[in-house]
């Protein structure tokens, strides 16, 4: 049988999935081992054990200065910011996306502007953003919004425009007003794709969260990484990166699950990643 028609069995599939992860960990352990053979005090690639210990300490030993469990404090603060930022970005993406995708006049007025706006790398105008939104939580949330919303808006409006014209016409012949079409046709058809846009948007959202926390903050995962970076404390940074990746992965899977639960009709066709 052709390779494209052969589905790996359950066991093979799990093994194949584990392979590159195992390879990465193995390669790291080796590189770390040899570096520490040369210089036992090497900080760049700490041993797995060392990282495990540090992670354990961050998670379960209260900080001497504040008495907090740093990992959980950082995680909570970061997730809160990420949630707010993604929430605002999602609302913007949905409302502006539908407007741009569905109403030609709104499209003329906003699409080029937002397309242009989405191309401005936010880090270049940080000083202006900080002046506009202050250095508190707002600016961090806004940086996430500015970093993710334009692309999300763009992709949602494209999805709205991709709704087969026949469906819109059908709704018109069934007597729907513009509002009704938005609520009963456009939104339901777009929502599963919005979830997809959110999943893609989470990648830059994390990046901007970490950048924002590195600039002005006193807690959060990005702050901690930034703080210990000046001592090259990779034994803190690497477990934090793994932790961030794990969190991001869980959020991603939750969104996929949400989409499958809430929009079963959307998943009747092929698989999705």
């Amino acid at each position: 049988m052709r390779i494209i028609n052969r589905k790996p069995s359950r066991v093979t599939s799990v093994a194949l999935t584990a392979l590159p992860f195992a390879a990465t960990i193995g390669a790291y352990a080796l590189a770390s081992h040899y570096r520490r053979l040369e210089n036992p005090a090497d900080k760049l690639l700490p041993s797995l054990q060392q990282m495990g210990e540090t992670f354990w300490r961050m998670a379960f030993v209260p900080d001497r200065r504040s008495g907090d469990l740093l990992l959980w404090l950082d995680t909570y603060d970061s997730l809160w910011r990420l949630g707010m930022g993604m929430g605002v970005a999602t609302i913007l993406a949905l409302s502006l996306g539908v407007l741009i995708g569905f109403i030609p006049h709104a499209r003329s007025a906003l699409a080029p502007y937002i397309a242009t706006f989405s191309l401005i790398p936010p880090i270049t105008i940080l000083p202006i953003l900080f002046i506009m939104f202050g250095l508190g939580e707002t600016s961090k949330v806004m940086l996430i919004v500015i970093g993710t919303a334009p692309v999300m808006i763009r992709s949602v409006s494209q999805e709205v425009m991709n709704i087969p014209r026949e469906l819109i016409i059908k709704a018109e012949t069934l007597g729907a007003s513009v509002m009704q079409m938005i609520f009963r046709v456009v939104l339901p058809q777009t929502l599963p794709r919005l979830v997809n846009a959110m999943r893609l948007g989470l990648v830059p959202a994390w990046i901007f969260l970490i950048s924002a926390e590195a600039i002005a903050s006193t807690s959060g995962l990005g702050y901690r990484i930034f703080l210990v970076r000046r001592y090259l404390a990779m034994d803190v940074i690497l477990p934090y990166v793994v932790w961030i990746t794990l969190l991001a992965f869980i959020i991603d899977r939750l969104l996929l699950l949400l989409s499958k639960r809430a929009f079963p009709w959307h998943h009747l066709g092929g698989e999705s990643l």
């Binding site: 016409i169 059908k170 012949t173 069934l174 007597g175 729907a176 046709v185 009747l268």
Partner: protein, 266 residues
């Protein structure tokens, strides 16, 4: 003609880029007529229906509805069943059918809840049985066979009870039994509501059985050097008498043609 015709088409032409699809189409259709449209595939029948729906605008000429220019956009008084059956993929069979009702009842969101929803769902029980989708009421379109989707699309358009109904090969994917049921359903509503119907079909017998008037689209001008230069127009426009035993003499050729294609066994 004394009364205003329901629909009048005056010297309409339609071109896509350099290609003329339709030209010099003239037509007056009185209210309550059942026009069946036949013609070679690719000659512009679907395009003609799309213009009647205001989905496309004629490149030249004019279409009038009740004596006034056709509205510039699709309106609820003209229903449509597309050639590629399009139903709402995010709604179950029953929700597809109650949608028009919901649009009427809930002006803002177009969505009913609780009791209203239940009542609307009860109202369509009959229809569901008639189109043979009673058992599939909770399925999504992607879970239906082609013919089932097509029946759903027809029922959805009929439930809105439009004044003008446009059907583009609506029964193509149906088996003879179901097709006969759908014919009955359609004819019943047509008589009851005095709808004006335009139906494209490739089945000449069906055209004769259902129509009160048959429109044949064909190209009459040809330029071998530039096959796209000329478009099709209405070459025959004949009234049909349902009680006739066969096609009128003018269409004998067509009917023979139809016979060849659908089997000489009859």
């Amino acid at each position: 003609m004394s009364a205003t015709p329901k629909i009048s088409v005056r010297n309409v032409a339609k071109t896509y880029g350099h290609m003329t699809v339709l030209e010099r189409v003239n037509l007056e259709v009185e209210e309550g007529a059942f026009c069946t449209i036949v013609g070679a595939s690719g000659c512009g029948k679907s395009t003609f229906l799309r213009m009647l729906l205001s989905q496309e605008t004629p490149s030249s000429g004019r279409i009038e509805l009740d004596g006034a220019p056709l509205p510039g956009e699709p309106t609820p008084d003209r229903g449509i069943v597309f050639q590629k059956y399009s139903v709402f993929s995010h709604l179950t069979v029953e929700d597809n059918l109650i949608l028009a009702r919901e649009f009427e009842r809930s002006r803002l969101l177009g969505r009913s809840f609780g009791k209203g929803r239940k009542a609307a769902r009860a109202e369509i029980n009959d229809t569901l049985e008639k189109i043979g989708l009673g058992a599939a009421r909770l399925k999504y379109p992607a879970q239906l066979s082609g013919g089932m989707q097509q029946r759903l699309a027809i029922a959805q358009a009929l439930l809105k009870r439009p004044k003008v109904l446009l059907l583009d090969e609506p029964f193509g994917a149906l088996d003879p039994g179901i097709r006969a049921d759908m014919h009955e359903l359609l004819l019943g509503l047509w008589e009851e509501l005095a709808m004006t119907v335009f139906m494209v079909t490739h089945d000449i017998r069906e055209a004769f059985k259902l129509g009160t008037r048959i429109l044949v689209f064909d190209k009459i001008r040809h330029d071998p050097q530039a096959p796209d230069a000329y478009g099709a127009t209405i070459t025959y426009d004949l009234p049909l008498n349902r009680k006739d035993a066969g096609p009128p003499p003018e269409l004998a050729g067509l009917a023979v043609n139809a016979d060849t294609s659908t089997g000489a066994s009859a």
